[in-house]
């Protein structure tokens, strides 16, 4: 279905994404992961393909809207973490989740850095 269009673009992955953003002839970006996610959230072990499609469309619309809004606030034309945090400040669940993820990411980065320093410098060195 999408094969003849792909040949016109240089990068196939970029073409997939652009195609996914058009409303006609969409290429599915998240089918496999979404199935697992829906099962995890309470759906049947084999969710309907139409349901998965609907949710994928919703997710892409969600990400698109968030990205557009984030580009308007803070530094225009760019998306920064602070903008995203600002956009979800009213939604308690999402706000807490973002804070958690960013904190965990920082801790993991610190841990990896510490681990690497220990590996290179020997176990007697104190990192930082």
């Amino acid at each position: 279905m999408a094969a003849p269009d792909d040949e016109q673009f240089e990068e196939e992955e970029g073409a997939e994404t652009t195609l996914a953003l058009c409303s006609v002839g969409r290429k599915r970006l998240f089918s496999k992961e979404l199935r697992c996610m829906m099962y995890g959230f309470g759906d049947d072990q084999n969710p309907y393909t139409e349901s998965v499609d609907i949710i994928e469309d919703l997710v892409i619309e969600f990400i698109t809207e968030m990205t557009h809004k984030a580009m308007e606030i803070g530094r225009t034309g760019r998306v920064q973490v602070e903008d995203i945090v600002f956009l979800v400040r009213k939604d308690a669940r999402k706000y807490a989740r973002v804070k958690d993820l960013l904190t965990m990411n920082e801790e993991l980065k610190k841990a990896r850095k510490a681990f690497d320093e220990v590996k290179y410098a020997g176990k007697d060195a104190v990192p930082g």
Binding site: E33, Y48, G128
Partner: protein
């Protein structure tokens, strides 16, 4: 998913270990070996932090700062008296105790899961959006590059969003006393309800006229 049926004991151990060391699910970018190593390194790092802190000359990472992220009010360091700092430290300790308690409760809960519940829980924790696809999607939209933190945040929020939609759809299904996989009609009704509540960002003026911000 079939490999889980053959290794349920292993899965239980892995889940218990995950629960002990992390509060959030492991993202697709990190492999299992990495995250367990990293988790051990985090524990080590936290212990080292407390040991090294007394020897540090510049305190740009004071002990209280790690908790500041959770509170909305950020007090400037200079104006805090010693008494206040001690009070905050006591609250920190009880927060850690509460976290410990919560982890224990989760452990007890997970250890009593049936096979099916365990399976579903593992999918809940492990499923995630592929960071590469999200990054490509956002870069296609913005036209300029996005940092890794932004991708991490967006992937996490998108997962929460999916959860909200699916839960709402399950509620709708329950109201109609239907069972089985969620059908598109339930999803559409769920989305309609969420749009009314303003839980779905769409354009700009859809809900602003009805609700105050």
């Amino acid at each position: 998913m079939e490999n889980i049926l053959n290794k349920d004991a292993h899965v239980l151990e892995q889940l218990k270990y995950d629960l002990n060391n992390t509060n959030s699910d492991s993202d697709g970018g990190y492999e299992d070996d990495d995250s367990t190593e990293a988790a051990l390194a985090i524990e080590e790092n936290i212990l080292k932090d407390e040991f090294v802190r007394s020897k540090r000359t510049d305190h740009f990472l004071p002990p209280i700062k790690s908790e500041k992220i959770d509170t909305d009010i950020i007090l400037p360091e200079a104006s805090q008296s010693l008494a206040k700092q001690n009070e905050i430290r006591k609250r920190e300790k009880s927060k850690k105790e509460m976290e410990e308690e919560e982890r224990e409760k989760m452990q007890v809960l997970v250890s009593n899961f049936t096979e099916e519940q365990l399976d579903r829980y593992e999918m809940y924790r492990r499923s995630a959006f592929p960071k590469a696809a999200i990054k490509r999607l956002m870069q296609t939209i913005t036209g300029c590059s996005v940092s890794q933190n932004v991708v991490i945040a967006m992937a996490g929020i998108a997962k929460v969003f999916v959860g909200e939609v699916v839960e709402e759809a399950l509620d709708v299904m329950e109201e109609h006393s239907e069972t089985g996989p969620v059908q598109p009609k339930h999803l559409r009704e769920a989305v309609r309800r969420m749009r009314l509540q303003g839980a779905i960002p769409s354009g700009r003026t859809y809900y602003r006229s009805h609700f105050r911000l």
